[in-house]
Structures are given as structure tokens and as C-alpha cells.
């Protein structure tokens, strides 16, 4: 005679429940099934007929079961009583659902339980220790009344909770009750279960738990603590819940995962997962693969992470975060160089060689996006067309960084470019801006043009740059910004460049062997003075020394100009 019996609660997909019940019954495990009364009479009779050849299966259909309601407990009580009464040899009672599937042979489970004849397997933890309760109701489940259905009458449910909270209402717990919660799928010994069901105070407990929210997660879990001699607080049934407290469903493609889970039972199984049912209900299956239960946790933890946090820097049809909810405005760090290419000739080619990476030109230039190597189309199919880019510049940048994940992007920016992107750059913690203010003066002072026009342009560029610096000061700025004036920069250009390279390339940064060629700055000081004389103060340029930089200080020589390492 078997020492293990099953209580099954079935709601839908009863043909699958029948298969599983037959599996147990044929392996000498009595089964008592409670079928949801909402299943039609006809289906129930068909179900009964399909199992009529099995002597150790009993069917009842007393309660219309609803999630989170007492009816689920009542159904399991009724079925358990029958099991205890009619199958005297049963020592362990396993509560399962119609969507449960045994992952290991029943014989394994029986052996396991025979070795632990006095142990109750029921997850049972105090309300302070659970972090998985839905809707933030943990302790309150026991303290408040829940007259309304959470699924069907959410509005009234919420209002009732609110009202009781506001009134400071608390239910009185029955004497000797210490609230515990846990998975509703348990495996109890005859002693413990019968003690719960035959307790003279049962009417008192039942009437209390009828008003507790989700009593099937607390009724047995609490009462078992009163009677059990040895509780092992875990469920033998593998059940994974998503962030909304809804059970994850297993499909055929989870076969491998389930085989490695090392659990006795899993729920929920998709009713049409033919492969799973065929494999796990086959006659003589032995566990052959190595168990790695952690993998299951990882898969489902990742799913929750994907649903709740998403991938940083991605916008798509299923993810469009409100401002400040992006978890990172872009996918990776990137670098913006403001002004350097005005000071040096072929600066991006030089930097590209130093960093062994792609360096773009002015991505936000007015004529087009200057991708590295003058490409017309770049990663992900980004077009260099100015209109397309300016249609949504923030998205253009986000796309660029997303498309090139794992490959740091560096691009030039300046006051001659479209400035609409600036707020996006500055509010992005992934952005690193190196700004040399007043660098626009370097190409300007050599240009062959009327001085009045040059002055006008200088004023215009300076206005844009001032605006940029104003925005940098904003509290919204999260980018890392380094600002130097032209005058400061050209005093020690090699040092600044080396510092920038070290920051960009990290510990692998190489000593500068080749300096970029600086534009001829002779006469710049005079040009700036002329601007001043004409009434414009080029503050962004800074205080230039009387003599422009001596050319040799730019040439890397045997002596190291920069000795920090």
C-alpha cells in the first residue's frame, strides 16, 4: 500500500489533469481530485468516466473556486478529508494542481519521503520575511477584512483596504495564531494534516481565514506551525512567479531546463505542451542529466529584469520611458570633443590612430552628419542626411550609441553645429564632454574676409558657446564636462591631450608618440586684441599670452612633458 497520496485541484484543461492523475494512480498513489464546479456537469462526467477504471482515484466537485478566495482552501480540505479517510496507508499528502507535472519519477519522491517520515514540507515564513507578496499586502492580509474579490471587484477591494487603513481598523487574531505565509503547494504528513482538519477549534480558525486575503497561501502555512514536529520550510513544487505575482508557465522549449531543475514537481505547465507531458509522464524515465537548479532562477530573474528595468538606452515599440525613467539615456559611454579640431589639423584622423578606434567628425553639422570615413550610411542604417537627423536629434544619438554597443563613440561638436542636441548631451550621464572654449577663433583669425564680417561671426559663435556653458551649469547636467579656455589649453596642449587620452583609453593608454599638428596661431593674439578694440570682448578665448605658443612645445621630444605614471 502506498504511503504517498495526492490531492489535486483542477480548474481548466482537465484532460491534462486526468493524464497526471492516471500517472500517479498507476504507480500506486491514491489521488483525490477536486474539480472546479464551474466546469460543466457534462465535462465533469466525461472526466469521471475517463478515470473510472482506476480504483484509487476519487473525484469531487463541491466548490466554485476563485483565485485568492476561501473556496480554494475549502476544496483542498474536502479532498484531503476523503484521502485521509479512505486511504489509511497514506502517510504523506501532496497538494498539487491540475497544471502540475511530476519532473522526477513518483518512486523517487516516495523514497525521498520514506526517508523523512515525520517531516512536513511546506513553505512557511513570517510576514516580515517575505518579499514576494503582491500589492504590498503582507501583514495586512491577516489584519483586515477582504469582502471583495481582487480579480473581479478591484475598485471595491482597493476602497475597502483604504477605508480600513484610514480608520485604523485591525482584526483580532484568534488565540494561538502566528501568521505565516508561503507557497500554496505543500506536502504534509497525515499527523499534521489530520490535526489541522480535526482540531476542535477548526470552525473558529476557518471563519477567521475566510476573511484573510489569499487564504490558500496562509491557512495551512499558519496552522502547520501549531502541530508539526518537523517543518522543512520549502515547497517541493517548483513554481516561478513574475513581478506581478502571476505564475510563469512552462512550455516545450523548457524541457531541458526542467530536466535539470532537480525538483519533484513543476507548475504551471501549458496544457498544450505535448512534449513536456510526453517526456515526464513516460513509463520508465530516469533522471539522467546533471541538475543545475540555479539556471531556472536565472532565466526567470532575467525575464523580470527585462520587464521592469529594460535595456538602458533602448527605445522601441515596447519601451518608451518617460523622462528620467530611462535607466540610462544611452546604452554606453561616449565622448564629445568641442573645439579640438579647430586647433589641430586632421585632429580626428590623429585621434583615431591614437585610440585605434573610429572617430567621427561633426555629427551634428548643418550640412550632414559627418560619420567616420565619410560614410553615407552608418551602423544600424543611420543616414547622414541632415533632415533625417534633425527630425529627432535625440533619437539619432540614442540610435547611434545603441547600434555601436561595445565600441566607444567619439565625435566632434562645436558652435557651428546644430545645437538642438545639447540638452540631450548634457543630461546624459554617459556623455563625456571635453570643451575648449574660444577655439573657433583659431580658424577665424586666418580667414581672408572683411574684419566686420569676422567680428560678426565671432560674436555669433561666442554667443552660442556662452549659451552652451550656461546649460552646463544647469542642475540637470549629468554629463562629465571638462572646460578649458583656448588660452589655458594652448599653454600646455600636450599635457591636456595626454590627460584626455588616458581618460579615454584607460590603463592601456599609450604615451603620445605623435603629436597632432596645431594650426598656426601666430597673430591670434593680435586678432583677439582687434576684436576687443572693435567693442567685442572674446571672453571665451581667455587671456592669451603676449607671444603665441612656441611651436616646439608641441613636438613630443625625448623628455616626457607629462610624468604622472
Amino acid at each position: 500500500m502506498s504511503t504517498l497520496g495526492f490531492v489535486m485541484l483542477c480548474h481548466t484543461a482537465i484532460h491534462r489533469a486526468a493524464e497526471v492523475a492516471r500517472h500517479y494512480a498507476e504507480r500506486d498513489c491514491p489521488v483525490v481530485i477536486h474539480v472546479d464546479r464551474r466546469i460543466g456537469r457534462q465535462d465533469f462526467e466525461a472526466f469521471r468516466a475517463s478515470l473510472s477504471d482506476l480504483w484509487n482515484v476519487r473525484l469531487i466537485s463541491q466548490y466554485a473556486c476563485e483565485w485568492g478566495q476561501w473556496s480554494l482552501v475549502a476544496a483542498s480540505q474536502a479532498a484531503s478529508e476523503i484521502l485521509l479517510r479512505e486511504f489509511a496507508s497514506v502517510r504523506h499528502i501532496y497538494l498539487s494542481s491540475g497544471a502540475c507535472l511530476p519532473l522526477r519519477p513518483v518512486e523517487d519522491l516516495r523514497e525521498f519521503l520514506d526517508a523523512r517520515p515525520r517531516t512536513d514540507f511546506i513553505e512557511s515564513v513570517t510576514t516580515e520575511d517575505v518579499d514576494w507578496t503582491v500589492g504590498g499586502l503582507a501583514a495586512e492580509r491577516f489584519d483586515l477584512h477582504f469582502p471583495f474579490s481582487w480579480k473581479r471587484q478591484r475598485f471595491f477591494f482597493d476602497r475597502a483596504v483604504e477605508l480600513q487603513r484610514r480608520l485604523g481598523y485591525r482584526r483580532k487574531l484568534p488565540e494561538g495564531i502566528d501568521p505565516h505565509l508561503g507557497s500554496q503547494w505543500w506536502c504534509l504528513t497525515r499527523q499534521t494534516l489530520s490535526a489541522i482538519l480535526q482540531d476542535p477549534r477548526r470552525p473558529e480558525f476557518d471563519s477567521y481565514f475566510k476573511q484573510v486575503w489569499i487564504p490558500d497561501e496562509s491557512y495551512y502555512q499558519t496552522l502547520a506551525r501549531r502541530y508539526a514536529t518537523a517543518i522543512e520550510s520549502r515547497s517541493l513544487t517548483l513554481a516561478k512567479f513574475d513581478f506581478q505575482g502571476k505564475p510563469h508557465v512552462f512550455y516545450d522549449d523548457h524541457l531541458d531546463l526542467l530536466q535539470r531543475s532537480d525538483c519533484f514537481m513543476a507548475r504551471k505547465i501549458w496544457p498544450q505542451a505535448n512534449e513536456l507531458y510526453r517526456t515526464f509522464l513516460s513509463a520508465h524515465r530516469r533522471v539522467e542529466t546533471t541538475a543545475s537548479p540555479a539556471k531556472i532562477d536565472r532565466v526567470f530573474a532575467l525575464a523580470t529584469e527585462r520587464r521592469t528595468r529594460g535595456r538602458a538606452g533602448l527605445t522601441m515599440q515596447a519601451r518608451f520611458p518617460n523622462e528620467n525613467w530611462e535607466n540610462g539615456k544611452t546604452a554606453a559611454e561616449f565622448t564629445v570633443l568641442h573645439g579640438h579640431d579647430d586647433l589641430f589639423e586632421d585632429f580626428d584622423a590623429w585621434l583615431s590612430r591614437c585610440l585605434a578606434t573610429r572617430v567621427h567628425g561633426h555629427l551634428f553639422a548643418k550640412d550632414r552628419a559627418h560619420f567616420a570615413d565619410s560614410q553615407k550610411v552608418f551602423a544600424g542604417g543611420l543616414s547622414d542626411a541632415a533632415r533625417l537627423r534633425d527630425y529627432n536629434p535625440g533619437q539619432f544619438l540614442r540610435n547611434l550609441i545603441w547600434n555601436t554597443r561595445g565600441d566607444r563613440q567619439v565625435f566632434a561638436f562645436g558652435p557651428r553645429d546644430r545645437q538642438e542636441i545639447v540638452p540631450d548631451l548634457l543630461s546624459d550621464a554617459n556623455a563625456r564632454l571635453w570643451i575648449v572654449t574660444g577655439a573657433w577663433a583659431a580658424p577665424l583669425h586666418q580667414r581672408n574676409a572683411d574684419f566686420m564680417d569676422l567680428r560678426k561671426e565671432a560674436a555669433h559663435l561666442q554667443r552660442i558657446e556662452t549659451e552652451l556653458l550656461e546649460q552646463v551649469k544647469s542642475v540637470k547636467t549629468r554629463a562629465k564636462v571638462q572646460i578649458l579656455s583656448l588660452a589655458e589649453f594652448i599653454q600646455k596642449p600636450m599635457e591636456h591631450l595626454q590627460f584626455m587620452l588616458d581618460t579615454l583609453a584607460g590603463p592601456q593608454a599609450q604615451r603620445l608618440t605623435e603629436a597632432p599638428k596645431m594650426r598656426d596661431l601666430s597673430g591670434l593674439q593680435q586678432f583677439v586684441q582687434n576684436l576687443k578694440n572693435q567693442g567685442m570682448n572674446p571672453v571665451m578665448v581667455g587671456e592669451l599670452p603676449d607671444e603665441t605658443v612656441p611651436a616646439q612645445s608641441l613636438r613630443p621630444t625625448g623628455t616626457k612633458p607629462y610624468l604622472v605614471k
Binding site: 501549458w270 525575464a303 527585462r306 522601441m316 515599440q317 515596447a318 520611458p321 535607466n327
Partner: protein, 336 residues
Amino acid sequence: MKVIERYGLRLQRKRFRIRSVRKSRELLPAVDRTDAIRPDHILAFVTLRNERLRLPYFLDYYRARGVSHFLFVDNDSRDGSREYLCEQTDCSVWTTQASYKRSRFGVDWTNYLLSRYGHGHWCLTLDADEFLVYPFCDARPLRALTDWLDASSVRTFGSLLLDMYPRGTIAEGEYRAGDDPFEEACWFDSGNYVIQRNWEYGNLWIQGGPRARMFFAETPELAPALNKIPLVKWHRRYAYVSSTHMLLPRGLNLVYDEWGGEKASGVLLHAKFLPSFAGKAEEELKRREHYARSREYEAYASGSSAMPDFWTRWSERYVNWRQLETLGLMSKGNWA
């Protein structure tokens, strides 16, 4: 959103529904096999014109994924599409010669059929060149997805319309009925989509892709919309507003997460650019029955060469849904 605006949308929805009933008089049943629809069937609704070549693969594709019944509106096909569909035992066909444009590009017809036959079903509303890819579609049938959506109390499933194109100009090559269109047209743009929110209806408005890159570089605001909500647990009160881009009531358009997370979503592979495209573009341009005065087709025809070559060295070659997931074009959400 103000009460008065909400009420405005409600009136609009009612107007659409009344309009769809009025427009339903244009539909003549050719074959009506809707008796065969069972309560748990997944249905597909398609409006088409001259798609005989694509239909065999289209039907096979969706049958294999678990669509049980197809409801077609045939808008005056001349290439045997109607006859072919009438032979299929899982298709019901209505036919009309009325104006596509004046039925708001088929939406009125579809809304009518949806409210008549789709109530309570999971319904796919598609064009004959759209192929739905959803998470785990290689291992799980559509029913697994809809069961999961049901269990999550989700009524709509969003997707991106992903334009697929071949390498080389699309006049080359040949497409025979029944062929997988993505054998040739297996390339796509992976990351040049722009999204903005449509506050009125609460949906996202997505543009971009190869068509924007090639034809709308100067007028990006006119580029075609790529956001689609093709899969809906239909209720007779619902109405599509414009193609399958958005629905009313507007809560149905919230197929995206606003707080940083990702909802489960799919991709509609768009097999628009097949070798027969050139002829089609010319014809559609003449008919002037398409959205916004057929601007799109105008752009195709005015391209420098008659046949565009969308391919670049950055084009991605389609492999499977997991690739699209990794590229960020769709998401598993919390389906695992």
C-alpha cells in the same frame, strides 16, 4: 486628458463603428465559412488586392502558427486571388469593388468584420505582405502567446513593421508563388527608427527604416508609420482608427512601458519589396487609392533608378527572432 477630449474620442469611436456598418454594404460575401469558427479560434483579417503570388506562403505561414480561420476582403483583384482563396477551406471571402480610399484604406471593412466575427477572439489584422514574428515563435504556437496575454490581462500586442529588402535592385530575381519571400528579401535596417508619442491616442508613432532613408531624407515627417498593433483580443466596442497603427479606446494603444521596462512585443516582417514591386508601385500610383495621396508610391517612382537598392554594408541579414530581440527591435518582456 480632459473629460471633454475623452468624450470626443468616444464619439469618434462610435462614428467609426457606425461608418463601418454603413460601409459593410459594399461587401459581398463570396464564400462564407464563418460557421466553422469555434470560440477559441485565432482569426486573421486581411484586406487585399492582387496578391495571388504571396497568398500561398502567407496562408501556410499563419496556419503553421495556429491561425484557424482567415477572413479576407478582396478589393477587386484581377489576378485570381479571389478564386484561389475561395478554394481554401479555412477562408471566408468578401469581395468589393468600392473605393479602398473611401473605406479609409480598408479600415471600415475590417472594423465591420472584426465586430461581427472577431468579438471574444484573438484577432490578427494583417496585410498579405506582413509576417508576424513574436518571442519564441520558433518553439511556441500563437496560442501559447495569446494564453499568456490572457493570463496577464493584456488585450493588445504591439509590433514594429520591419521593411525587408533584397540585396541589389529589386527588379532582379524572381519570386514564385509559395516561395519564402525572405529567402531573397532577407535584409533590414536594424537601428534607424525614430519614435514619438501621439498624445491624442496614446500610441507611439514610429518612422524610419530603409524607406525613410531612401525616399524621405528631405521630408522625414512624411515617412510611413511603422508602429502596428496587429494582435488584439477583440471586443465589438473596439475600432481600428488608421490601418492597424492605433485603436480606440485608447488604452489599447499602450503596448509599451513608460517606466523603463519592456513589454513583450513582436515584429511584422514586411515583404513589400519583392520583384513584382515595380509594376505594383506604378499601378498603385495610377489608382491613387493609397494613404496621403499615394505619396509613398510617388516617392518610389521618382527615385533615381526605377528600382531602389536599399542594401548597405550596415544592413543586417535576418536570422531569427532572437536576433531581432538582441538588436532591440522586439522584446520578450517578462515572457520566459
